[in-house]
C-alpha cells in the first residue's frame, strides 16, 4: 500500500480546499427550503415518528397533497401560493402506518394507505384556498371516508389516477382498477411483484410488467396492453423504481441500481439515457423546462439533474435548508412538480419536511 504523506497546511489553495470539503457537497444550483409539516405559529408539527413523507401529488389550486408513514399515517396538504404558506394535517387514516400514494381526482384526494390488515383507500375533499394566512383564517376538515380494500390482506405498492375518475392500484400481486364510485375493484392483471406507475398528462398510465417490459392503460379506449414497450435492458427493481412524466409526453424511469431510461411520448423507443450518480433512485420529477430532478443514494441521498437537451446528468449535491428552517435532508420518498417549475420533495425521514426546490434558471437564448 502506498504511503500517504501528511498534508501540509501551508500549501497554497488549502483554504479553498477546506471550504470545498465543508460546503461543496451541498446543493450547488438552485435553492431549497424545508417546510415543516404544520402551519408555523398556528399548529404543531405532525409527530416526528409519523412524518416520513412517502407520497406527494399536486392538487387543485396548485396545492400539494401528501401522505406519511411511520408509527401512523397522516394525509396532509401544503399551500404555498397566494397569502398562504402552511401544511395542514388532514387526518390519520384509521389502522394504517404507511402511505403508498396520494392522488387528486377533481375536488377530492384519495390516499392509498397500508396497515396490518392490508392496503386500503381513503378519500376526502380537497381544501379551498383559505383567507389571508398572515391575517386571520379558518379551516374546515371534512371527515375522511374509507373506500375499501382493493385486495384483501394485500399491501398497496402504488396508485395513480386512471385518466378518468378512478385509480389504478398496484398491490403486491395484482393490478386493480377502482372506477371512482363505490367500493368495487376490478382486477386488470396479476403480476409477481407490485411496482410504482406513472400517469401521463393525457391520462395514459404506464407500469412495469416485468424487468424488460412496460404495460400501458389507455383511459379513452379502456385498453390495457400487457407489453406496450420493451426496455433496452433488464432493470433492477430490488429497491423500487421511480417514474417522472414531463409536459411534452416524455417519460423517465429510474431503477434500483441508478439506470435512467427515457420513453418517448409515443412509446416504442425506450432507451437508457443516463446513470444516476448514486443508487438507488428514490424520487423523480420532470419540471416545466424538461429537466428531470430527483434523489438517489443510501444514507445520505444526493440530488440529480438530468437535462434532456444536453443528455447530461449532474450530481447537484445534498439537501440543506438554510432559509428559516435549518436542516439537512438525507432521505426522500417522492417528488412532484409545482406551478412554476419548483419541485416538492417529500422527506422520508423522522420529522420529515416538505422540501421545496427552486431550480436554477437556465440562460435565456435570445432570438435572432
Amino acid at each position: 500500500m502506498a504511503t500517504r504523506k501528511k498534508y501540509d497546511r501551508s500549501l497554497p489553495g488549502t483554504r479553498e480546499l477546506v471550504d470545498k470539503i465543508h460546503h461543496g457537497i451541498f446543493i450547488d444550483e438552485g435553492s431549497m427550503v424545508a417546510f415543516p409539516l404544520c402551519f408555523p405559529g398556528a399548529t404543531t408539527q405532525i409527530p416526528a415518528d409519523e412524518s416520513r413523507i412517502t407520497a406527494v401529488c399536486s392538487g387543485p389550486h396548485h396545492m400539494v397533497y401528501g401522505g406519511t408513514s411511520g408509527r401512523a399515517a397522516h394525509v396532509f396538504v401544503g399551500m404555498f401560493h397566494g397569502v398562504t404558506g402552511c401544511v395542514v394535517d388532514l387526518g390519520m387514516p384509521e389502522d394504517t402506518s404507511g402511505t403508498a400514494a396520494v392522488c387528486c381526482i377533481k375536488d377530492a384526494w384519495v390516499a392509498a394507505c397500508n396497515g396490518p390488515a392490508g392496503g386500503q383507500l381513503f378519500r376526502g375533499s380537497c381544501q379551498p384556498v383559505p383567507f389571508d394566512l398572515i391575517q386571520e383564517w379558518s379551516f374546515s376538515l371534512p371527515p375522511m371516508e374509507r373506500i375499501g380494500m382493493p385486495v384483501k390482506g394485500e399491501r398497496i405498492v402504488h396508485a395513480v389516477p386512471d385518466g378518468g375518475e378512478g385509480l389504478l392500484i398496484s398491490t403486491t400481486s395484482r393490478l386493480v382498477r377502482w372506477s371512482g364510485a363505490g367500493a368495487s375493484f376490478g382486477v386488470l392483471s396479476e403480476h409477481a411483484e407490485g411496482n410504482r406507475m406513472v400517469c401521463l398528462p393525457g391520462g395514459v398510465v404506464l407500469g412495469l410488467r416485468d424487468a424488460r417490459s412496460v404495460w400501458s392503460w389507455d383511459p379513452a379506449s379502456r385498453r390495457f396492453e400487457k407489453s406496450a414497450f420493451a426496455l433496452p435492458q433488464t432493470i433492477d427493481t430490488s429497491s423500487g423504481i421511480r417514474w417522472a412524466a414531463g409536459n411534452a409526453g416524455d417519460v423517465y424511469l429510474g431503477d434500483s441500481v441508478g439506470n435512467m431510461f427515457a420513453l418517448g411520448a409515443a412509446g416504442g423507443d425506450a432507451r437508457k439515457v443516463a446513470t444516476a450518480p448514486l443508487k438507488p433512485v428514490t424520487s423523480l420529477a420532470a419540471t416545466a423546462d424538461g429537466r428531470v430532478f430527483g434523489t438517489c443514494g443510501e444514507g445520505m441521498e444526493h440530488f440529480l439533474c438530468y437535462n434532456p437537451a444536453t443528455g447530461k446528468i449532474r450530481d447537484i449535491g445534498m439537501a440543506v435548508s438554510i432559509f428559516e428552517r435549518r436542516r439537512y435532508g438525507y432521505a426522500f420518498g417522492d417528488a412532484v412538480t409545482g406551478r412554476d417549475g419548483q419541485v416538492y420533495f417529500g422527506e422520508n425521514d423522522d420529522l420529515g419536511h416538505l422540501w421545496i426546490y427552486f431550480p436554477a434558471l437556465l440562460p435565456v437564448k435570445r432570438g435572432s
Binding site: L17, I21, H22, I25, F26, P47, M300, Y328
Partner: protein, 414 residues
C-alpha cells in the same frame, strides 16, 4: 472559599487540540481524552490522572487499540466526545469514538462530503470496553458505520448503551450482552451534546428547536416535548438551545443542564414530575453581551457541570472583557477579549451562585471547559479545549467540601 487550579498539559500528545471527554471511572479515578481533531492523520490518546505521581498516565492510542490506523487515508479515530460511560459492577469504562479528524493527506474532513467515498469515509464509531481493574481492553466493537458518536449513556441496570450519532443525529441503543445496535430514529440536524437517564429508564435529550426529546423503552417511542426549554427571549427562538452538559443531582431526582450554543443558559429539570418533567430556568450562565453580532461559540460558553462531595454544583462559565471581533482570522487570538474560565458554585437549596475561582493556564486562556468530574478523593477536574496542547485542570477542594467516595453516585453519561 477561593479555589486554585493546576493545569496538566497533554505533553504526551503535543498536537492535542481538545479534551472533550473527562469522567470519573468506576474506580474513582479521572479519565480524559486527549483529542486531536484538527491535525491530519492523528488519533486520540486516553489518559488518566495518577494521584500518586500527581501526573497524567497515557493509557493507549485509540487507533492502535482498535486497529484503525491514523495513516489509513480515512477520517481518523481522533476523539472521544462526551462518550465515557462507567460501569460500576464490573469496573468497565465504556468509551465511544467520534469523527472530524482529517485523513492524513487532507486538510479537513466532512462526513457529508465523504459519506459515499469508500477510501475516505470514517470507518465508524468504535465502542471500547476498558477494564479498569485489569488496565486492559475487555473488547471493542463497531457502534455504527460511517458516523461518529456525539455522546454516550449507560443504563447499567438494563445493560444498554444509548448514543447519538453524528452527523445524522440518530438515537441508537446498543445491547451490551448481544453486542447489537438498534436505530431508534432521527432527532434533527444539530446534535445535542448530552443524554441523561431518569429513574424510569427513560433517556432524555433535546431537539434542534430546544424541545426535550425522550425515549421511553416501555413505549418504544421517541417523543418530543410540547414546550421548548428556557432560552434568551430577546434574540433566541429556541433554535439551537440543545443540551451541552447535564449533571445529575446526588439524590438522582433532578438534573442540572447548560445549553449550547449562543447565550448558554442554566436549567434544572425534574424529569419525573408531570408528563414532561418540571423545568426551571436558572438564568443565563454567562454575561450580557451585544446582541447585534454573533459571538464566537468558543468565547461564550458554559460546561463542566458536576456535583462535589459537599453536594453543591460546580461548573465553569466563560467571561470576557471586550466584544468578540476576532472571528476566523485566528481562533486562538483572544488577547483583546482576555477570556477567563470562571469556576462557579451553585447551591441547590437556595439556587444562589458564587464565583469561587478562575482556571489558570500560564500560556493561554482557559475559558472553554467541556466536562467536569470529581474523583474519589473529592477533588474537582475540568477538561479544557484551547491552544495546542490542551489538557485538564485539577482543582483541589478544601477538606470541608470533601467526603469519602465523593464520586458516587456515578454519572452514567459523558
Amino acid at each position: 472559599m477561593k479555589l486554585k487550579s493546576k493545569f496538566f498539559q497533554f505533553t504526551g500528545h503535543p498536537l492535542s487540540d481538545s479534551c472533550w471527554s473527562l469522567s470519573v471511572g468506576p474506580d474513582g479515578r479521572i479519565y480524559a481524552a486527549a483529542c486531536c481533531e484538527c491535525q491530519p492523520g492523528e488519533t486520540v490518546k486516553v489518559v488518566r490522572y495518577n494521584e500518586k505521581t500527581d501526573a497524567l498516565d497515557y493509557l493507549f492510542d485509540l487507533d492502535v487499540m482498535v486497529g484503525d490506523p491514523r495513516d489509513s487515508g480515512r477520517a481518523t479515530q481522533c476523539k472521544i466526545h462526551y462518550s465515557f460511560a462507567p460501569s460500576l459492577h464490573d469496573g468497565i469504562m465504556y468509551m465511544a469514538t467520534h469523527l472530524s479528524g482529517p485523513p492524513i493527506d487532507l486538510p479537513a474532513y466532512s462526513p457529508w462530503y465523504f459519506w459515499h467515498d469508500k477510501e475516505r469515509c470514517f470507518r465508524g464509531a468504535v465502542l471500547l470496553a476498558w477494564d479498569t481493574k485489569k488496565d486492559s481492553p475487555a473488547w471493542s466493537d463497531t457502534l455504527y458505520p460511517k458516523e461518529g458518536c456525539r455522546c454516550l449513556l449507560h443504563d447499567e441496570e438494563r445493560g444498554l448503551l444509548y448514543s447519538i450519532s453524528y452527523p445524522r443525529d440518530h438515537l441508537f441503543v446498543f445491547d451490551i450482552a448481544k453486542r447489537k445496535s438498534r436505530d431508534l430514529g432521527r432527532i434533527g440536524s444539530i446534535n445535542a451534546q448530552a443524554l441523561f437517564l431518569d429513574r424510569r429508564h427513560r433517556v432524555w435529550t433535546t431537539s434542534d428547536y430546544g424541545h426535550l426529546v425522550r425515549y421511553d423503552p416501555d413505549k418504544g417511542r421517541v417523543e418530543h416535548s410540547p414546550e421548548p426549554l428556557p432560552h434568551n427571549p430577546v434574540f433566541q427562538s429556541g433554535w439551537h438551545s440543545v443540551f451541552y452538559d447535564v449533571a445529575p443531582s446526588p439524590e438522582g431526582d433532578c438534573v442540572y443542564a447548560s445549553t449550547w450554543i449562543a447565550a448558554p443558559r442554566l436549567i434544572r429539570i425534574w424529569p419525573e414530575e408531570g408528563s414532561w418533567g418540571k423545568v426551571e430556568d436558572l438564568g443565563p450562565a454567562t454575561q450580557d453581551r451585544d446582541t447585534w453580532i454573533p459571538v464566537c461559540t468558543f468565547l461564550d460558553h458554559c460546561g463542566g457541570l458536576t456535583f462535589a462531595g459537599d453536594r453543591k454544583l460546580y461548573y465553569v462559565a466563560s467571561r470576557w472583557f471586550k466584544p468578540d471581533t476576532h472571528q476566523e482570522k485566528d481562533v486562538y487570538k483572544m488577547d483583546a477579549q482576555k477570556p477567563q474560565g470562571v469556576i462557579w458554585q451553585l447551591d441547590p437549596q437556595t439556587l444562589k451562585r458564587r464565583e469561587i475561582g478562575v482556571l489558570e493556564r500560564s500560556d493561554y486562556f482557559a475559558q472553554y471547559v467541556s466536562r467536569g468530574a470529581v474523583d474519589h478523593n473529592g477533588d474537582l477536574f475540568f477538561a479544557h479545549v484551547g491552544k495546542t496542547p490542551v489538557g485538564i485542570f485539577r482543582v483541589p477542594m478544601p477538606a470541608s467540601h470533601k467526603r469519602p467516595d465523593a464520586h458516587l453516585p456515578l454519572r452514567m453519561w459523558g
